[in-house]
């Protein structure tokens, strides 16, 4: 962690750019929050960038009444389910790849590397076909399974890279104690790679939480609707009631925002999992 401490002069161009971009980032956020507090009449008649004369939280009430909590729950189930599957099977695969130095293990690793380059979008038609054939269409499982499959390659690679740093002697001594693969995985590997597991879990979790295409194609009924899709359908449902639609946008962001405030460090490391150096 080397930081350039000698640079004390004020960086003027950097500062200008930094604050300029800050305005760019904050303007839409400001607009969304502000509009979500407007009444319908206020929305038509007032300056959209000035605070409403009579702020109201009615819009939030309307969104919450409209099954918002169910969509939230669906999103939570899909996210936790995907992350649990992904992390569990990826950890096992990473352990195999690292501890079994054979040719097959090498090939496995290469297969996952290749997997990174497959764009998820390109496979939706066959995935749609598979899911309908398996009679999973319009279930949360229909989102979980392919989402996990596409999260696995990167997760395996990151975990494998962490495992490589575990000194071989540790495994050896445990093996001499008569420990099998499963015990090693549980009592040696898991504690050691815990930070990496948190990182990939956050990364995978955010991807799934914000995912749109799979829910769009693989589910249909409101019972199975997840948040990003719910936002999209709120648009049709609330029609011109833009304040309510934007209130839904705000509400859908709150869970992640809460997480961000509580565990910013983990979240940020998770966001750049595997790419930061």
């Amino acid at each position: 962690m080397a930081v350039n401490v000698t640079r004390t002069r004020i960086n003027v161009p950097g500062g200008v750019l930094a604050f300029g971009w800050l305005l760019v980032v904050l303007l839409p956020v400001y607009y969304v929050v502000l509009t979500s507090l407007r009444s319908m009449e206020g929305f038509y008649s007032s300056n959209p960038l000035l605070p409403p004369a009579e702020p109201t939280v009615d819009n939030y009430g309307r969104v919450l009444e409209d099954d918002f909590l169910r969509y939230l729950l669906n999103s939570v189930v899909v996210t936790l389910g995907t992350v649990a599957i992904t992390v569990t099977v990826s950890l096992m695969a990473a352990y195999y790849v690292v501890r079994n130095g054979g040719r097959l293990a090498g090939l496995t690793y290469k297969a996952f590397l290749l997997g990174l380059a497959i764009p998820l979008q390109a496979t939706i038609i066959p995935v749609y076909y598979l899911i309908t054939r398996a009679h999973l269409y319009d279930t949360l499982l229909a989102i979980i399974l392919p989402s996990a499959a596409f999260a696995i390659p990167l997760t395996v690679i990151i975990l494998a890279n962490f495992l490589r740093d575990v000194p071989g002697e540790l495994f050896e001594s445990m093996r001499l104690d008569g420990a099998g693969h499963w015990r090693m995985l549980f009592s040696l590997v898991l504690p050691l790679v815990r930070p990496a597991v948190v990182t990939v879990a956050v990364y995978d979790g955010l991807q799934v939480w914000n995912g749109f295409l799979y829910p769009l194609i693989l589910t249909q009924s409101p019972d199975q609707r997840v948040l990003p899709l719910a936002l999209w359908s709120f648009q049709g449902q609330f029609q011109v009631d833009i304040p309510a639609v934007l209130a839904a946008v705000v509400l859908s962001t709150l869970p992640v925002l809460a997480l961000y405030i509580v565990g910013r460090r983990q979240l940020v490391s998770g966001l750049t999992a595997g790419f930061g150096r």
Partner: protein
């Protein structure tokens, strides 16, 4: 050591995964466990349909129907994937035409002719011309479920008074209005261009006014080169002239009709006119009741094109929307749906609700009811328009197959944004003739 704790952590992760799987499997599929279902559209007659299903479910706990409402564009996509996945709702909302034909060809919807023979009342109450739209090869696959939907030219009376002009009777009148409104900083015409199909209404009316119904009939029958008919070229040139003159509201290409932003422009006084299906009336009544109460909403027929062959009384739009029954539904669901169609739909209170909402159902002998309803003038206008029309053309995108319909909307959108010329439009569309 903390090994025990770690192990618990992994175990609980695994357990969570398992629970998730079980939970999500348990809540699978609407058709499988949840009884009969129905999907319909938001806006328009949504309230009537909602009330009807609520009443039905309250009285028939044994054959409940679970109704869901979707925005138009989302619905059209969802219903195709759902039917394709064998997971269609029991009652399928439709328009008739090419889409219905496709469902019939793939054996996805029930032939209702048998039920109608057993129960003539099921079909007898409807206007025969409208029932026809739900028939394929003489067999009935769909029954009307809401109001007739001719496309009407709506206008804001207040703005017309302010500018001191009259609603257009001819195309030249319309073109002459454009600069007058623009001078006052009012958009002459509102349109939801992002949704694409509102643009089709202009095309359909213009082609009909110029060349009559034969022009589209030739297209529907798949005559080679039918899209090159002079009436189509002429209509498309007129559309581009209107675009050039600035007839449509600024940014019309990014306005979605689904979010009813187009009618909002009309009732907030930002645009003077809007060409839209008759469902715009209930939609406006819902979001801006005072606009209707203060009699600011005007309505008239589409202008005449001088020298055109089409009868000025011809209309385009949707004769009605329809319910079809999914062939893949369980026996119990089918029975629930059929008994709803017989007793729950279009009964007295249903018709009353449609009328008070501003829709005119395609039902025989409702003249008395019309006169006694809340908005007698508007309702009679719509009823007469539909009843007296020599030709009621089903929206082209519905009459054609989905693939042709999609190509049509796309090319038309490019025509409106002037990416292609009328000649290119015809050439592109001629290629789709004969496609499935």
């Amino acid at each position: 050591m903390t090994l025990g704790k770690r192990r618990t952590a992994l175990l609980s992760t695994g357990l969570a995964a398992l629970l998730t799987l079980v939970a999500s499997c348990g809540s699978s599929g609407p058709g499988s466990a949840g009884g009969a279902s129905a999907w319909a559209l938001t806006g328009g007659d949504e309230q009537t349909l909602r009330t009807s299903f609520e009443n039905w479910n309250a009285d028939h706990s044994g054959s409940r129907i679970n109704a869901e409402f979707f925005a138009n564009d989302a619905y059209k996509q969802k219903i195709r994937t759902a039917i394709g996945a064998g997971d269609a709702p029991t009652l399928i909302f439709g328009w008739g035409g090419g889409t219905l034909q496709q469902w019939v060809d793939a054996d996805k919807v029930m032939d209702l002719s048998g039920q109608i023979n057993d129960n003539p009342a099921l079909a007898d109450r409807f206007l025969p011309s409208v029932l026809e739209t739900g028939k394929i090869d003489g067999k009935t696959y769909a029954l009307p479920n809401n109001g007739m939907q001719p496309v009407i030219l709506y206008y804001n009376k207040e703005l017309f008074d302010r500018v001191g002009v009259e609603p257009p009777e001819t195309w030249d009148d319309l073109m002459a209005l454009v600069p007058k409104f623009k001078q006052q900083n009012i958009a002459p015409l509102s349109i939801g261009g992002q949704s694409k199909w509102p643009q089709l209404m202009w095309e359909e009316y213009l082609v009909d006014r110029i060349g009559g119904p034969e022009v589209f009939n030739a297209i529907a029958e798949g005559e080679p080169g039918a899209w090159s008919h002079p009436a189509i070229l002429e209509a498309n040139r007129k559309i581009q002239q209107l675009v050039d003159a600035g007839g449509f509201v600024k940014g019309f290409n990014s306005i979605a009709s689904d979010s009813a932003a187009d009618s909002a422009l009309l009732y907030t006084g930002k645009a003077a006119m809007m060409l839209m299906g008759s469902w715009a009336y209930p939609t406006i009544k819902d979001s801006a009741p005072e606009f209707i109460a203060e009699d600011k909403l005007g309505y008239t027929t589409f202008p005449v094109v001088e020298g055109g062959k089409g009868d000025p009384d011809n209309i385009v739009g949707n004769p009605s929307n329809f319910w079809s029954v999914s062939a893949g539904a369980g026996e119990q669901e089918k029975q629930a749906a059929l008994s709803y169609l017989k007793d729950g739909m279009m009964n007295d209170s249903y018709v009353d609700n449609l009328l008070s909402g501003g829709s005119v159902p395609p039902v025989k002998g409702i003249e008395d009811k019309l006169a006694g309803a809340e908005n007698p003038d508007y309702l009679s206008f719509v009823y007469n328009m539909a009843a007296e029309a020599p030709n009621f053309q089903l929206s082209w995108d519905q009459a054609l197959t989905p693939r042709q319909g999609e190509a049509l909307l796309n090319n038309l959108d490019q025509l409106f944004t002037k990416q292609i010329t009328p000649e290119q439009f015809s050439a592109n569309m001629n290629k789709t003739i004969g496609q499935q």
